[in-house]
Structure formats: structure tokens, C-alpha cells
Amino acid sequence: MVMLNFRSPVPLIILLVAFSAGLYVGLKPAITDENTRSDADLRTAQALEAGTLLTPSRALQPISLHSATDAELTLGDLQNRWTLVFFGFTNCPNICQPTMQLLSRVQARIAAKDESRVPDILLVTVDPQHDDADTLLRYTQVFGDQITGATGDIDAIRAFASDLGVLFQRVELGEDQYTVDHSGTVLLLDPDARLRAIFSPPLGAVGIANDIMTLTEGAGA
């Protein structure tokens, strides 16, 4: 057995349980209500390799964030294309960086088959205090040119995350150090900026790419 000695008492995460319980109650009916599924939806849901399909897709609450180019970012800006949304932060080399690389591989796999079906990637920072628009822009550029970074008011970010069933919590580690615990799920929004599918870790580029090909089949994304 590996034995670990923690440096400091693990900080308390307040309200988290209540918060997450509330969220999942909100999400659950959309995922599991079989009665609302059409036959086509059911077939599509079964055809997905990696993702969980929402049937019907779910409308999102309005958002008010800033893109990495410092333009206002609303749901309207996420329409007319498919978007993979991930919540992370730039000082997160162990999880966020490989996730960004993986999503960029998803784009490359789809581009190799059909350029018109490549989804955008939206990275929403869970560390807006550090990740301003410039920092995000320089970071996202490393992973490709069809990747948008978004930052904004912490409450606006939290509202968007909550709407998508994503949790995050800043945790102080002492000596001016902190980290941000966060969900590792990737969300797929359809061209109406509605939540269409959820990908939970462990994530795989092949499965996500194949699922997006399935979902965009004949749709002319």
C-alpha cells in the first residue's frame, strides 16, 4: 500500500453536497425520461460510444462571459456550430492540459473526415482571478485556432457551470498557494447552443470524435 502524508488538514468544502445534489436533481429527468425519447433519439443514444445523449436536448440559461479576445460571450455566440465545453484553468498541467490536447485531437480526427463537422472548443476558466482574457488567449492558442477561452465574473462562470452540471471549488493550500477542484466532464452543445451530450472521464478522443460524427450525420453542421 502506498502511504501518503498530507501536508495540511484537508480543507472543508462547504455546501458542496447540497449543491451537487441540487444539480443532479435538475439534470436527471432530461437524461432518463424514456417517455420523451423518440425512436430516432433512442437509436442515436444507443449509437453513441462515449457520450450520454440528452433526449431531448436541454436549453441553457443565458450566459454573460468574456471571450479570450475580451468580447462579450453569450449563448448566441455558441450557435450555428457544435461546441465542446470544458471547465478548467491554465495552471492545471496534470488534467486540464492533457484534456485540451485530447479535445484538439478530437478536432483533428473529425477534420480528417469532414472539415465542416469540426466542433469548436470552449474552455471556461474556473480560476478567473488568475486567468484573464490575455492569459487565456495565449494558453488556448497553444492547442489550436478553433479554441475559445472564456472568463468573467465568478458568479457568471458558476451559473454556467451549474447549468451544465459542472462543479468547481477553489481550495486554499496555504503559503499563497491554492488549487481549484473541478469536474472533468466535457459537454457537447448543439448548433442551437442546447446541451446535447455529456462525456465523463476517463475521456477518449476516438469515442468523442466518433460520437460527434454520429450526431452530426446528415445534419450539415
Binding site: L4, R7, P93, N94, Q101, T135, L167
Partner: protein
């Protein structure tokens, strides 16, 4: 009874094969690599596999590198639907234990990369128990795990 006997003979052969190897002392570290840093804070993660060949537990309390200001050992775990990273003070391997550091569990968190930390470079790492060096190695800087496949 015959199949059982065959298995027993096979097991004994395997055990003897293990016995006959020259016993190694201390720890062995391999499959190391450091993720190419892209964040402006020059923070990145590193991965190694540590094997304890000694007959006693071995503790790693510190990792250092000339190429980084500071290195911490972190754990990654899933809790309440979130991924959480926490520093640990030390990492103890039981006799004969092998630990693979990876993005999904224990990993190194490296702070303040110097400008030499670029893709393809070999970076020195030293593992310590207190002030006693346990292993020295050089690991490549790469965008993706170079030891896969």
C-alpha cells in the same frame, strides 16, 4: 493430479527464476517524462515509475531539479464529482512495491521551469529521503507521454 503437479512445477520454476536474479538494492526509477509547460506560470506535471527493490520500506520526501524552482508530490483523486489535487509530504513504498505516477493518481507538480525546459530536452531529477539522495535520473520533456507504445 497431473495438471496440478505441472502448475506446481511451473510455479517453482518461476519462483526460482526470480530468486536467481541478482538482488538489487534501493529504488529504481524509470519511464520518466515531464509535460511540456504551456502555462505562463511555467508550472507543469511530471511522471515517473518507482520500484523499491530493497527489503525495507523507502520514503521519498523531496524531489528536486536544477531546471525547476520547486517540485511537489501531488495526489489526484475524484471526490464529490470533482478532481482534486493535493500535495503530500512524502511517499512511502513498501518492500518490493512499484508505483507508477500518472495523471490519474500520484504525480509530480513542478513549479517555475527555467527556459531550458523545452520539448525534447532532458531534465535532471533527484529523489531524496530527507537529505539522502535515493535516485538521480534525467527525464525527457514532451507534449505527450513518450513511453506509450
Amino acid at each position: 493430479m497431473r495438471p496440478l503437479r505441472t502448475i506446481a512445477v511451473l510455479l517453482l520454476t518461476l519462483m526460482c527464476a526470480a530468486c536467481s536474479e541478482t538482488p538489487e538494492q534501493g529504488i529504481k526509477v524509470n519511464n520518466g517524462w515531464i509535460r511540456l509547460p504551456v502555462a505562463e506560470g511555467k508550472m507543469t506535471a511530471g511522471y515517473i515509475t518507482i520500484s523499491n527493490f530493497s527489503e525495507a520500506p523507502v520514503s521519498i520526501t523531496r524531489v528536486s531539479s536544477a531546471a525547476f524552482e520547486r517540485i511537489e508530490i501531488h495526489t489526484m483523486s475524484m471526490q464529490d464529482g470533482m478532481m482534486r489535487m493535493r500535495p503530500v509530504d512524502s511517499l512511502t513504498l513498501a518492500a518490493g512495491e512499484r508505483i507508477e505516477l500518472s495523471p490519474n493518481g500520484l504525480h509530480l507538480m513542478l513549479h517555475g521551469a527555467n527556459p531550458d525546459v523545452t520539448e525534447g530536452q532532458l531534465v535532471p531529477l533527484t529523489l531524496f529521503d530527507g537529505e539522502q539522495p535515493l535516485a538521480e535520473l534525467r527525464v525527457p520533456v514532451a507534449a505527450e507521454n513518450p513511453h506509450v507504445q
